[in-house]
C-alpha cells in the first residue's frame, strides 16, 4: 500500500471516531445531570464534531476527498471506520462519562504523537486543538475522581462502567493494514505505541480513583474494517435525517 492510500485510511478512522462519539455525546444535550455539566458536555461534543470536520477537510484538500458534509452524512454504515466504543448508545451517565474518559485520553495521546508527524496538516491540527483536549481530559479526570470518592454505590457503578467500556476501548487501537508504512514514514508511531502511552496516562487516575483496571483480554476489533454493531446504523439514520431531505441544500 502506498502512502496515498495509507494516510486517508488513518484520517478516516480518526475522523469517524470523532464524529460518532461527538454525535453520541450530544444526545445528552438537555438531559445532563445538572445544567453546568449539560453545557460542558455539549460543548465538548461540538469540539469532537469540529475535529472530525477538520480531518474530513484535510481529506478533501489533500486527497481529493468529497465535501465534508456529504462524506459525514451520506455514507453507509459499512463505509464508516469508527470503533465500536464510539457507536454504543449513551446508556446511563456513568457509562458515558467513562467512555469520555477513556476515549479522550486516547485522543490526546494520538494528537500528541501527531504534533511530531511528518504529515504537516496533522501536525497543524494537533497544535490547534491541544488546548481543547487539555480541557476534555481535565473534565473527565475530575468527574472520575469525584464520583469514585462519593461513596460505595457511586464507586461500584464507576467500576462497572470501566469493566463495560474497557475491551471496547481496546478497539480504539485496532491496528491498521498500513501501520508499518505509516510508522516508517514517521506519520505517527502506530497503534501499539499509542496504546501503551494511553495505559500509562490513564492508570494513575484510575488508581487514584480506587478502581481496578481490567486486563485487556479481548479488545473489540472490527470497526476499522467497517464491521459494526446495529447501533451505528440507527445513529446514522438519525444524524443524517435532515441532511438527506435535500443533500444539495446550502445552510
Amino acid at each position: 500500500m502506498q502512502l496515498e492510500q495509507a494516510l486517508p485510511e488513518l484520517l478516516i478512522k480518526i475522523a469517524d471516531d470523532e464524529l460518532i462519539i461527538g454525535h453520541r455525546n450530544s444526545e445528552w444535550t438537555g438531559l445532563g445531570p445538572v445544567m453546568e455539566e449539560d453545557i460542558a458536555f455539549s460543548s465538548m461534543a461540538q469540539d469532537k464534531i469540529g475535529h472530525a470536520w477538520a480531518l474530513y477537510r484535510i481529506l478533501q484538500e489533500h486527497f481529493n476527498g468529497s465535501d465534508p458534509d456529504q462524506f459525514a452524512f451520506m455514507r453507509e454504515a459499512a463505509d464508516f471506520k469508527c470503533c465500536h466504543l464510539t457507536e454504543m448508545p449513551i446508556s446511563s451517565y456513568d457509562f458515558s462519562l467513562m467512555r469520555h474518559f477513556l476515549f479522550d485520553h486516547a485522543e490526546t495521546v494520538r494528537y500528541q504523537s501527531f504534533s511530531q508527524s511528518s504529515f504537516t496538516p496533522l501536525q497543524q491540527l494537533a497544535a490547534k486543538i491541544k488546548g481543547e483536549l487539555k480541557y476534555h481530559t481535565l473534565h473527565a479526570d475530575a468527574w472520575i475522581l469525584q464520583l469514585c470518592t462519593a461513596g460505595a454505590e457511586s464507586r461500584g457503578r464507576m467500576q462497572q462502567a470501566l469493566d463495560n467500556c474497557f475491551q471496547l476501548a481496546g478497539g480504539i487501537f485496532e491496528p491498521g493494514e498500513a501501520e508499518t508504512l505509516l510508522i516508517d514514514e514517521k506519520v505517527y508511531p502506530g497503534e501499539a505505541a499509542l496504546y501503551q502511552q494511553w495505559l500509562n496516562n490513564i492508570s494513575p487516575v484510575i488508581e487514584k480513583a480506587g478502581l481496578t483496571i481490567p486486563a485487556m483480554t479481548a479488545p473489540v476489533y472490527g470497526g476499522r474494517k467497517g464491521q459494526h454493531t446495529e447501533h451505528l446504523q440507527q445513529l446514522l439514520n438519525e444524524m443524517g435525517e435532515v441532511f438527506r431531505l435535500d443533500p444539495e441544500a446550502t445552510w
Binding site: E36, I39, A40, S43, Y135, Q146
Partner: protein, 122 residues
C-alpha cells in the same frame, strides 16, 4: 443563622457579631462566584455563578459556562459563602458620596496637558 435575603452571601452585621454562616463540606453542592479575565494583566470581572461539589469542578464548569465564547485568558472561582459583604441596610454609609465631588478623579485635568504635550512634540 444567615438572615440575608441572598442566602449565598454572608453579610457583616455592624452591631451584631454572631458566628458566621457556613456550609459543611459535602453537605450540598456550593455556589461559586465566577470571575472572568479578558486579557493578561486585566482585572478579573464578576460574570455570574455556577454550582458545583468543589472548587475544582466549579472551575471546570465555569470554563464552559463563562469562557466558551469570545476572549478569555483566565477564570477565578470563589465559594459564594466565603464572600463578606455589607448588609443592605448599611447602604447609608455611601449615601453622601454624590455630594463629595472633590473626590472624583475627573477633578484632575491631566489629559488636556498630555494632549497638549503630544501635539507639541509632533
Amino acid at each position: 443563622m444567615n438572615e440575608s435575603l441572598d442566602p449565598r452571601v454572608n453579610r457583616l452585621r455592624l452591631n451584631n457579631s454572631d458566628g458566621s454562616f457556613s456550609i459543611e463540606e459535602g453537605e450540598n453542592w456550593n455556589v461559586f462566584e465566577v470571575f472572568h479575565q479578558e486579557k493578561r494583566g486585566a482585572h478579573h470581572e464578576h460574570v455570574g455563578c455556577v454550582h458545583a461539589p468543589d472548587a475544582n469542578l466549579a472551575l471546570i464548569f465555569a470554563k464552559e459556562q463563562f469562557g466558551r465564547r469570545k476572549k478569555c485568558v483566565n477564570l477565578w472561582v470563589v465559594r459564594s459563602a466565603d464572600i463578606l459583604a455589607f448588609d443592605l441596610e448599611d447602604e447609608d454609609m455611601f449615601a453622601n458620596n454624590p455630594d463629595k465631588t472633590y473626590r472624583d478623579a475627573s477633578g484632575f485635568k491631566v489629559m488636556e496637558k498630555i494632549n497638549k504635550f503630544k501635539a507639541q512634540s509632533k
